[in-house]
Amino acid sequence: MSTNTFSTYETAWCPGCGNFSIIDCLKTALDELNLDPHEVLMVGGIGQAAKTPQYINANAFCGLHGRSLPAAVASKIANEKLTVIVDTGDGDSYGEGGNHFIHNIRRNVNITHFVHDNQIYGLTKGQASPTSGEGFVTGVQVNGNINTPLNPMLISIAAGAGFVARAYCGNKEHLISVMKQAIEYNGYAIVDILQPCVSFNKVNTYAYYSQRVYELDDSYQPFDKVAAMQKAMEFGDRIPIGVIYQEPKPSYHQKNTVLKSGKPLIDRPDDSSIVNKFMEEFI
């Protein structure tokens, strides 16, 4: 651990929280990919999970609740040499940031999105999140959650994501491997990471997941969209983890006519002769 250049600081998480294994795995993944801290940009919104960028020795953009994706994709547009990773919560990603979630799948900017899915709002002390199960009782959902839980994997595949995976923080080796694949994928990659919140979620516990989670093996091929959607819907007594869907697709940088021809935006010099030419069109 100590040789890892991404290690730094004390955290403000509850003992036993699933976030600890996630951050450990992330540091290991980054280290194993031979990235340098200054090449990596961690972007978070607001929440317990969203504090992750604060606890890693890398560039950090800790923005607003729900708004990490737009800031992250634009950073990548500005400087494609940065490895941009959004690391944040389920409420941040699917609730407050739901609109950005859907539309950034469509943009397909080459960034990675790790969602710490604890099926609850942790920082605000335990209200239902978009992924909370039906009947889930909280201080607000006092008679149990009556809303249908959102299936982030199914939505991602339906909206056209090219890399869709689920992982579980209780299986670190597997999580590291999925994280590395996601970071290396060329395009928008989402990993929904099942994460027990020991303080506020008394339903989706380590025991709950350990009984249900199973690793997808080679018998499952993640390249058929319809089969992948079926797999994504498996979320009950058995919960598959691994890459659920994968498809090579041209990324934003490969599609955008300005970006695909030439240097990263940040390295382009100003050219007043071209502005002069535009001005002359008004004479």
């Binding site: 950090a60 634009a74 500005a78 040499k81 940065l82 001005m279």
Partner: protein, 555 residues
């Protein structure tokens, strides 16, 4: 100076006819100012364009007409009272007008003979050129640029027919502006941003700001600018902030409704000290308001928008020259002070065309902040004397750059320390003290020995100037005016100096509550004696200000 109105229903080709006419008149050497009065619909309704032209500077529009090109009866009904005694109404013979000033031409018939009903606009262009003593050759080149090749010949023929169909009415006036630009406010603003090194623009379509995004997009490949249509305005501003953080000059633009959605992120730029320019092209509110019309009612909103306190700057655009230079300056100031700078424009300025001197690109060039030295531990939010901390770009050095929307320490790490909070807050707010030293004072014009001082801001500059000139000419008293461009923080030096000399202070604004008067009172304790306010979505004209001062104030 002449003033011409082209009116009809949406979809009748007013815009094309007006475009060809203003370009032809500019070729003839005129100074030009045009206004679009457009309803928020694609077909039907009543739309019109005003083209005011003359041999001297034309600062704004006027409602006194020398000519009307009427494409339907409604145009004549609505505007004939604004027409001068010796003015004309040019229309097709089938229209029912019996006003003695009407000149009926068989435009529709002629167009049919030529072989395409759509060329009737060119017939009108030919007739108008003749009526104002212009040469027909003038419009030939303009047509070439604005009409597809296969239709060119029939349009030229149509123009000649129109030219022959009427007698000359007004003499040609000598002008000298053929080398100037004719540009609208949003185009001027976009050019200014590009001259100042803009590399990223994110926005969500909203009238009257959309044409900024469209113009930039049309040039994006050539200029190497990424223009991104965001999924909403919240995304747009957070994108602009993200790109700016990563080191490229970024801007977003919207109107009041979209600005409302951007407000939380405006505070993020303030807190995280990320350079950002936000353009608010105002339209009447609240809510959806009047989508295609004009107002100056977002001033108090933008100077205080977002929770908490942070340094910001607001620059109002007064005219098409400001639109270029002040946008470039806004990007430079945002970078220098690491703050959000808001540009206030409005529909009147953004859609109107004006002839202006070609812009000096050197004066608009990007001034980049000096790269900080890399010595010792890098502190993104280092406490400094002027409050401006060394800003490194992530990935460009071996240092780690961390920014945070939570209150943070010098390294950019979250903190709840009361001591750090106070120091950090003071550091941020100190930047304003330095900024105040380089504010631009309002523009002063009128009689040096004035008794009555008008105050205004933004795009009412032209109308206020015309009113001051005409009031002084009439000998109804001695008038002068101060018109603010930099408006927040409010520059006070000239204001206090001139106020000490004024017997009466009149606030002129395009809103219902007198927001500038409020701001002046809040910042200086000085109250205005009266307000000339207009909030019907149509820009106040010089004549209107003059009349209302004589009626409501001068009494």
């Amino acid at each position: 100076m002449y003033n011409l109105l082209i009116g009809g229903a949406a979809g009748q080709g007013i815009e094309t006819t007006a475009t060809i006419l203003r370009k032809a008149l500019k070729k003839s050497g005129y100074h030009i100012f045009t206004v679009e009065d457009v309803m928020s619909r694609v077909r039907g309704g009543h739309n019109f364009s005003l083209i005011r032209f003359g041999s001297e500077d034309v600062l704004s529009h006027s409602n006194k007409l020398d000519g009307i090109i009427a494409l339907n009866d409604e145009t004549i009904e609505l505007h004939k009272d604004e027409l001068n005694k010796n003015g004309f109404i040019l229309c097709d013979s089938t229209l029912s007008s019996n006003d003695p000033r009407t000149i009926k031409v068989d435009m529709n018939e002629m167009a049919k003979e030529i072989g395409n009903p759509k060329v009737s606009g060119s017939i009108a262009v030919g007739a108008v050129l003749k009526l104002f003593g212009e040469k027909i050759e003038l419009a030939g080149d303009v047509l070439k640029d604005n009409v597809k090749d296969q239709y060119l010949e029939m349009n030229i023929k149509a123009m000649e027919k129109g030219f022959q169909a009427v007698e000359g009415r007004f003499p040609h006036l000598e002008g000298n502006v053929s080398l100037s630009l004719m540009i609208n406010g949003n185009q001027a603003l976009s050019l200014g941003a590009m001259a100042s090194g803009l590399k990223f623009y994110a926005a969500y379509p909203m009238s009257p700001s959309t044409s900024i995004m469209e113009y930039l997009a049309s040039k994006s490949d050539e200029a190497g600018i990424v223009v991104e249509q965001a999924e909403d305005e919240i995304a747009a501003i957070n994108m602009a902030i993200g790109a700016s953080f990563a080191g490229v000059r970024s801007m977003t633009g919207t109107s009041g409704g979209g600005f409302s959605l951007m407000v939380e992120a405006l505070g993020l730029a303030g807190m995280a000290e990320i350079p950002l320019v936000v353009v608010d092209v105002q339209r009447p509110g609240p809510a959806t308001g009047f989508p295609t019309r004009t107002e100056q009612s977002d001033l108090k909103f933008v100077v205080s928008a977002s929770q908490g306190e942070f340094p910001r700057m607001v620059i109002a655009l007064r005219n098409h020259t400001d639109a270029f230079y002040q946008t470039a300056r806004a990007l430079n100031l945002a970078e220098k002070y690491q703050i959000p700078v808001i540009i206030l424009s409005d529909q009147y300025l953004s859609d109107s065309h004006s002839t202006v001197e070609p812009y000096d690109l050197k004066k608009a060039a990007a001034i980049y902040a000096v790269k900080p030295e890399e010595k010792g531990e890098y502190l993104r939010y280092k406490y400094t004397e002027d409050g401006i901390s060394p800003r490194l770009i992530p990935g460009k050095t071996n240092n780690i750059v961390a920014i945070d929307s939570d209150e943070h320490d010098e390294r950019g790490w979250i903190t709840e320390s009361s001591e750090v909070r106070i120091k950090m807050m003071d550091k941020r707010m100190r930047k304003l003290e330095k900024l105040k030293l380089e504010l631009q004072e309002p523009e002063f014009f009128g009689d040096e020995a004035f008794k009555t001082l008008l105050v205004g801001w933004g795009s009412t500059e032209g109308p206020i100037k015309e009113a001051v000139e005409s009031l002084n000419r009439m000998g109804k008293g001695k008038f002068a005016a101060l018109v603010f461009g930099d408006i927040y923080p409010l520059p006070q030096k000239l204001l206090r100096e001139k106020l000490a000399l004024a017997e009466r202070l009149i606030n002129v604004e395009q809103n219902a509550t007198g927001q500038l008067a409020d701001l002046i009172r809040e910042q200086t304790g000085i109250s205005c004696d009266s307000n000339i306010l207009k909030y019907d979505g149509r820009q106040i004209s010089g004549e209107e200000i003059t009349e209302r001062i004589l009626k409501e104030v001068q009494r």
